[in-house]
Symmetry: C2
Subunit: 365 residues, 2 copies
C-alpha cells in the first residue's frame, strides 16, 4: 500500500440552505477544496451521503456530482453507512489512493436535510436504525440515545449536568469561529457539505503549500443495527473496534493522540465515545467532561470544531468535516480554537446508534 | 496492486419475494456464496444497493447486513450508483483486496423492490435520473430509453423487430435455466440478491476447488446524469470509457472477449451497448441482433444468463449477478447455456440512462 496524504480541504457553512440545491452544496465544498489544495486534479471521486433518496428524491450521486463538477468521466462511488457515510467516503478515497488505483481522490460528504418536513426528515433519519425491529415500531434516534443515557445514568451515576456540559463545551468552541447565536439556534437537521482531496505522500511533498498531513491509520467496525441486540447497551463495540484498528494501523496508542473530533450526535454519545476510546474508564466520561478534560485547553481536547452538536450535523457531511477540522489544526491554522502543538489527531464517525464506526488517525509530518 | 480472483458465487432466484425481507435476500445469497467457495472467511464486505431507503425505509445496510451474516464486526461499505450499484460493489471489493487492505472481500448486490406500490417504485427508480431537471417534470426510465430508441430508429433505421429480437434472444437463453413462463411473466421490478467472494490469486490457487478465475480489468466511467446534457443522445460515453478502461487494464481488446453480460434494462440498451463495446459499428446493433451475432451460438454471445430483461432486474443485484454468470461460464458449469471454450468475458453494468458504468474483464487462468 502507498502512503496517503490530505492535500486539500473544503467546507461550506452548515445551516438551513434553502436557496441551494444538493448539487450546489457538493460543488461549493469541492471548489473550496480545490482552492485550498491549489489543484483541481481528481482521478476518482467518493461521495458520502446517507439518504439523498429520502431527503431529495435523488440517488445516483455518482453520476450527478462529477457531472456538475466538470468531472463527468471520472470514476465515482457514492458510499453510505448512515451518519458514518462521510468517514466512509474518506476511507474509500484512502483505499483508492493506497492501492495505486488512483493518484488524486476527492472525498465529498453531503446531506441536504431541510427540503422535507420534520416528519419526513425523522423518517429518513430513522432508516439508519433497524426498520423492521426498531423504527417501524415508532422509536427514533432521540429515543434510542435517551435509552443509552438513562442506562448510563443508572449504572454510573452520570448526571444531566454532565450531559449538558458536553453541549456547553462544544458550543463554547464553536462560538470562536462564527456567530454564536446562529450556531446555537442551529437545528441538528442541517444542510451542509465538506470535501477533502487525498493523494500519495510523495505527490503531497511536491506540492509544498502546506506541511504534509498523512492519514496513517484507518479502522472500521460494525455492530448490531438494533440496540436491543447488543451484548451490553453501554458498550459501543463498533467504536472500540474502529479506534483499535485505526490506532494499530498507525502504530499508536490513545496516549499518542493530541486531540479528537468525535461523533457527538447527542451529548451522551460523546461521553460514551470518550470511554470507548480509552481516554477515561467506563462511567467516568461525565465527571471528566465536568472537570474540563475535553475542553480546548484540557488534557485531551475533544471537538475543537464544536462537533456535530454545535456546528450542525448534515449526516453525510459530518465525517468529512471532522477531517477538515483536524487538517486545519495540524496546519496550525485554527485561529482562536487552535490546540497548541497538535501533531496527531483522531477522527471518530459513527452510524445510527453505533451500528457502524469509521476512525482515522491523521498526523502532521 | 495484488491480483484478485473470484473464489465464490451465490445467487438467489429473482422474483416477487413477498415472504422474504431485504436482510433475508442478502443472507441467502451470501450463504450460497460461502457454500460455493467452501469458506466463509470475510475480512470486509461491500453491499451494492440502489435505494433501500425509498424501497424499504432502510439505510445503513453497512451495519444491518454484516449483523445478520454473523459478521457484525467486519468493515462494511454500502455503495450506490443507481443500477450500476452491483458492479460498483465488485469494483470496491476488488480495490479492498488489490490494495492489501483486505484478504477476503465479499460483495453483495441486493434490491427488494416489491414492498412498495408500482407508483412508489417508479418514483424510486426515477431517482436515478436527474430529479430537478428530469424526474420532477414527470419523465421516467421507459420514457428516457424510449427517446434513445426513437433517435436510434430515426438515425440508423433500427426497427421494432430488431429491438424485439433482443428480448427474444435473452428470454430464449433464460428458458434453459428455469421455468420460462415464470420468467416471461417476470416484472422488471424484481426482488433479488447475488454475492461474490474475492481474494488474492495467491489465496485462490490454494483453494483448488475450481480453476482460478481472475478479475484482470476494471473500468468505470461517468457521464451527465440528464440525457438532455449529452453531446449526442446516441453516445454512451460512460460505457465507452468503462469498457476502454477495463480492456486497457486487462491488456485486451474487444476481439479477445469470448462473451459478455451487458446491461439490457431495455432492449435498446443492449443494442447501444453492443455498439459502444465496438462489437459492431454504430447503427448496426439492430441488424446484428437479427442475424444472431449475439445468440448463444453466435460469434459474440451476449447475456447467456438471459440478462436483466429475462431474469429480472433487482437493480442493486444485477451487476453482481452478471459476475456470477460469467464465473459459471468460465468454470464450464453453465449447463445447456454453456458457451464453448469461454475463457475471457466482459461484464458491463450501468446506472440510470447511462450516467455511470462499471465494467469488469474476467479471465479463467
Amino acid at each position: 500500500m502507498r502512503n496517503v496524504a490530505i492535500v486539500g480541504i473544503g467546507m461550506i457553512k452548515f445551516g438551513e440552505l434553502w436557496t441551494k440545491s444538493l448539487r450546489d452544496l457538493c460543488v461549493e465544498a469541492a471548489q473550496n477544496c480545490f482552492t485550498d489544495a491549489g489543484t483541481n486534479r481528481v482521478d476518482s471521486l467518493t461521495i458520502g451521503c446517507m439518504s439523498s433518496g429520502l431527503f431529495n428524491g435523488q440517488e445516483h450521486l455518482a453520476s450527478m456530482v462529477p457531472d456538475y463538477l466538470g468531472l463527468k468521466h471520472v470514476p465515482a462511488t457514492r458510499v453510505e453507512s448512515a451518519c458514518a457515510s462521510g468517514g466512509l467516503a474518506v476511507r474509500s478515497a484512502f483505499i483508492e489512493v493506497a492501492s495505486g488505483f488512483t493518484d488524486f481522490a476527492l472525498a465529498i460528504g453531503v446531506e441536504k436535510m431541510t427540503d422535507v418536513s420534520v416528519n419526513d426528515a425523522t423518517f429518513a433519519l430513522a432508516s439508519a436504525a433497524d426498520q423492521d425491529f426498531e423504527a417501524f415500531h415508532g422509536i427514533t434516534f432521540p429515543g434510542l440515545y435517551a435509552m443509552l443515557a438513562r442506562a448510563h445514568m443508572d449504572r454510573f451515576g452520570t448526571t444531566r449536568e454532565q450531559l449538558a456540559q458536553v453541549a456547553v463545551k462544544n458550543h463554547a468552541n464553536s462560538t470562536m469561529i462564527a456567530d454564536p447565536l446562529r450556531l446555537l439556534d442551529c437545528s441538528p437537521i442541517t444542510d451542509g457539505a465538506a470535501a477533502v482531496l487525498l493523494t500519495t505522500v510523495e505527490e503531497a511533498k511536491k506540492m509544498k503549500k502546506y506541511p504534509v498531513v498523512e492519514i496513517t491509520g484507518i479502522g472500521m467496525g460494525t455492530d448490531t443495527i438494533a440496540l436491543s441486540h447488543r451484548r451490553d447497551i453501554l458498550k459501543l463495540d463498533a467504536v472500540d473496534l474502529g479506534v483499535q484498528r485505526a490506532l494499530k494501523m498507525a502504530e499508536k496508542t490513545i496516549n499518542n493522540i493530541d486531540f479528537a473530533e468525535v461523533h457527538d450526535c447527542f451529548t451522551i454519545a460523546e461521553i460514551m465515545v470518550l470511554e470507548s476510546l480509552g481516554v477515561v474508564k467506563q462511567g467516568q466520561g461525565g465527571p471528566a467532561t465536568m472537570d474540563g478534560l475535553t475542553a480546548l485547553n484540557g488534557k485531551f481536547p475533544v471537538n475543537p470544531s464544536g462537533g456535530l452538536k454545535a456546528k450542525g450535523h448534515p449526516v453525510g457531511a459530518s465525517g468529512v468535516a471532522q477531517i477538515c477540522e483536524i487538517v486545519e489544526q495540524l496546519r496550525n491554522n485554527a485561529g482562536k480554537r487552535q490546540i497548541a502543538e497538535a501533531r496527531t489527531a483522531l477522527a471518530q464517525n459513527m452510524g445510527g446508534s453505533g451500528g457502524s464506526c469509521v476512525c482515522h488517525v491523521v498526523e502532521r509530518r
